[in-house]
């Protein structure tokens, strides 16, 4: 447990970087510090490993004031990941990862064996062990940065905007990786970002900082999106927080219709007859792989014995996974579908059913209750 007790940082030039911060970071959880630029996130984070000394109040780890610890020894027991990784250019990947173990006096062989273990853990190829940082992509460098921070198995991991310098696709995969790691390792993670989406995705708890280094709200992601405490937090989490909040509700609870899903060998007439006023029919293969949408008007125009598979179908857009996706993904799939309906699939990509707009509307309505 990390406790900020009225921790403050006043720089000699008069800047109040952090103003009397009171906050408790729970052990084994991911706590995200989020806020606009200059709101004191980095300064607060660095008080934990004494890279910044508070000018008021204190920071405690498991009840002990960090100022009672030798800074170097303290830092070796806390993993630290910085923006753009900050890897040593003159050391190979594995020697970068082995840095802290070597500082702790492990033998070279043991440190390198540990480095190999960590490379596997963060998803790096063993063949990259002897590469130099400049030979890696930005995303790979970040993985090395995370591996380096975890090398001595510290209970606490501090991460300062670790994924901000990579493109959105790589960032998403690094976030997934972190979630997976955290499920396995249960570290006490303090993660700084100014991306509220990243915060909501990764955090068990989110601390929103406001300019002047003050805490605006400290809550679970659900609570933060559902009940922002004031106008600042509301504008910071974004006016689409309603939609974003849908990510916390599973798509599993939607009712799916199967009566408008037809095999590609079904005759147009038969399909039209069983649609009961629905404007769109989803056509699938014999294996339930989606092919596309047929409109009711289209079915009425063609000869009744035409097989659905031979029609010119509208693209089905993208699907959502019924068991793993959220309501947000289902809504997104519906919005992007030409039929205005979302196609739900199972893990193997086979169509389970279709969500109509009315059903989606009902589900969204029940969430806002």
């Amino acid at each position: 447990m990390i406790t900020f007790e009225g921790a403050a940082k006043l720089y000699p030039d008069g800047t109040v970087a952090v103003d009397a911060l009171d906050l408790t970071v729970e052990t084994g959880q991911t706590t995200v510090f989020v806020g606009p630029s200059g709101s004191g996130k980095t300064t607060s984070l660095r008080m934990i490993n004494r890279m910044v000394e508070p000018t008021g109040g204190a920071v405690l780890i498991d009840g002990q004031d960090v100022r009672l610890r030798d800074p170097a020894a303290l830092r070796r027991s806390i993993g630290y990941v910085i923006q753009q990784a900050g890897l040593f250019p003159h050391r190979t990947v594995r020697d970068n990862i082995a840095t802290v173990p070597l500082l702790l006096g492990w033998g070279r062989a043991r440190a390198r064996a540990r480095a190999a273990e960590l490379m596997e853990l963060v998803g790096l190829e063993p063949s990259q062990a002897r590469r130099y940082p400049h030979q890696l992509s930005g995303g790979q460098q970040q993985r090395v940065g995370v591996a380096r921070a975890l090398a001595a198995d510290p209970p606490i991991l501090l991460m300062d905007e670790p994924f901000s310098a990579v493109d959105p696709v790589v960032r998403a995969s690094l976030q997934d990786e972190l979630l997976r790691l955290q499920e396995e390792l249960h570290k006490t993670v303090v993660f700084v970002t100014h991306d509220i989406d990243e915060a909501v995705r990764l955090g068990d708890r989110i601390a929103v900082f406001r300019p002047g280094g003050r805490l605006a709200q400290y809550d679970s992601p659900e609570r933060l999106l559902a009940a922002p405490r004031d106008a600042f937090v509301e504008s910071f989490v974004g006016y689409d927080r309603g939609v974003r909040r849908l990510s916390f509700f599973p798509a599993r609870e939607l009712s799916l219709r199967e009566d408008v899903v037809f095999g590609d060998d079904t005759a147009a007439g038969a399909a039209a007859a069983s649609m009961r006023g629905e404007p769109w029919a989803l056509v699938v293969t014999g294996d339930h792989v989606p092919l596309g949408w047929a409109g009711a008007g289209q079915l009425a125009r063609v000869p009744a014995d035409t097989a659905l598979g031979s029609l010119d179908l509208a693209p089905y857009g993208h699907t959502f996974a019924v068991d793993t996706d959220s309501l947000r993904a289902a809504l997104d799939a519906a919005v992007l579908s030409p039929a205005g309906r979302a196609v739900g699939v199972d893990a193997a990509g086979r169509v389970v059913g279709v969500v109509s707009q009315e059903d989606l509307g009902t589900a969204l309505w029940s969430v806002t209750e």
Binding site: M51, P71, L74, R75, Y80, L87, F88, P89, H90, P133
Partner: protein
């Protein structure tokens, strides 16, 4: 053309290759003074540059001092020291050190200062102590620049070690000084060719040292850390 033939004959003379006045002996003296001068300079300048670079203290003072030293006429320094300390190896070495320290000092200082603050921050953040940051990060990253400073110094030292002849301790400068005294142009030219040759060899030596001492991650023009 005549002068080239004479120069060739000068080198071809068997007497040129034996005895105390022969090329091998003179070359030996010259290399010895140069090496000694360079090593002494490195011993002074590298630690000093590492210190000022690491602490950020005295940076202005050392660079100003180095620039001042660079403006000193070497031969003047030599004669000044001879006046003060008499003839011999000491004044020669002093002059060479005065010449070689500035480029090594400035490059070492700049090499350490040039390490990205981000990397220094990461080093401290992982729990390195000051001396560990210096030895495990700043020094290795500064090596390419330090070597460039040493190369500049070495070439200058090799060229300037000819002054040893003025105070009677030999070296390749003897051919130039003696040639001048005897109005023997061929001898002067022979001496100069040997000095130039040595300077070229020195440059090659540093190309080799660069391969040996610079971490592969810092070569290929990759700037520290990107």
């Amino acid at each position: 053309m005549d002068i080239l033939i004479e120069l060739f004959a000068w080198f071809a003379d068997p007497a040129r290759w034996t005895g105390g006045g022969g090329v091998p002996a003179r070359m030996g003296e010259h290399v010895y003074y140069s090496l000694l001068g360079l090593l002494l300079s490195a011993v002074v300048a590298v630690p000093l540059g590492l210190f000022t670079g690491h602490t950020g203290r005295g940076g202005f003072l050392t660079t100003s001092l180095a620039n001042f030293a660079r403006a000193l006429p070497t031969i003047g320094v030599l004669f000044l020291i001879v006046l003060a300390a008499g003839i011999g190896l000491v004044p020669v070495l002093c002059a060479l050190v005065a010449l070689a320290v500035p480029p090594i000092l400035v490059n070492t200082h700049e090499g350490v200062r040039g390490v990205e603050p981000r990397l220094r921050d990461a080093a401290f953040g992982m729990g390195m102590r000051g001396h560990q940051v210096l030895l495990r990060l700043e020094l290795p990253v500064a090596v390419p620049l330090i070597l460039i400073g040493m190369r500049t110094a070495a070439v200058q030292v090799v060229a300037t070690a000819t002054i040893a002849a003025y105070v009677g301790v030999g070296g390749l400068g003897r051919y130039i000084v003696d040639g001048q005294a005897r109005q023997d142009l061929t001898m002067m030219l022979g001496g100069s060719v040997l000095v130039v040759l040595l300077a070229v060899l020195t440059t090659l030596l540093f190309a080799g040292l660069r391969r040996l001492l610079v971490a592969p991650g810092l070569r290929t023009g990759a700037v520290a850390g990107r």
